[in-house]
Subunit: 148 residues, 2 copies
């Protein structure tokens, strides 16, 4: 269980948080991709087998959404989140059906707002690692606004 | 209608493409956010009215997915797409229910692969503009692998 953040001021650079893992099931991979990223290597196992990844892989947008929603559902930012303005998203390795992805976060930078005393800007590096082999499959450097 | 790209080699830096628009309806905003980004300002109109945006706004992930899937469905990259490794996503202004977002793309950089003669790396800047006032609500700088 994660302890919900109470304030921007509770954070320090270098702090790490661990959120357990999310499993990327075939049915959800197909369902997400049919709606949001209908490319053959995400929705068609036969075409995917002959495609650039040698098999079906999850949409990168799905991996991003699955890990992000896992963190939102943990309640970690429920008391502090005031939205965000930017994410740099990287997919260093493909995600395949059945992969279990461990999700963690590290505080990279903290800057109190100069104009608004009730909030601060937080840069967080989220990492998704495939549990089977430790490979990093997702990195998100997110810029968030958190309440003080 | 957009003409599908036939090869990496058909592109040049500075080229622009226009994909029409996507409409962000309230029902889909709520549906997406309940599944992937259940924060009060995305799923609860009453809480959102009292929240940081003064009303309900779409999840940034939803705006990203809606514009991206719109491009995928246009068929623009269907013959050339071999996946992607990175996206830098910015949300300069909130998206509200009923907003119609015009989607365009500009080729920013082109680099043939040095190790694999059948492909090249393409950087594309996607822009989503709210049609009502021209405000930029989404920018995605995507790095893609396209077939030659």
């Amino acid at each position: 269980m994660i302890t919900p953040l109470a304030s921007f001021d509770d954070l320090s650079v270098g702090q790490e948080f661990h959120f357990g893992s999310v499993r990327m099931d075939l049915a959800e991979i197909l369902d997400f991709a049919r709606r949001w990223d209908p490319q053959p290597f995400h929705i068609d196992p036969a075409a995917a087998a002959a495609g650039p990844f040698g098999g079906l892989i999850a949409s990168g947008l799905h991996t991003q959404a699955a890990c992000f929603s896992h963190i939102i559902r943990s309640g970690w930012v429920a008391q502090v989140s005031m939205g965000g303005a930017e994410q740099v998203v990287r997919w260093p390795a493909p995600v395949r059906p059945g992969d279990e992805i461990a999700v963690s976060a590290r505080i990279e930078a903290l800057a109190p707002s100069r104009s608004k005393p009730d909030r601060g800007v937080v840069k967080v590096l989220y990492t998704g690692r495939r549990q089977a082999d430790g490979a990093v499959v997702l990195e998100i450097l997110g810029t968030h606004i958190f309440r003080r």
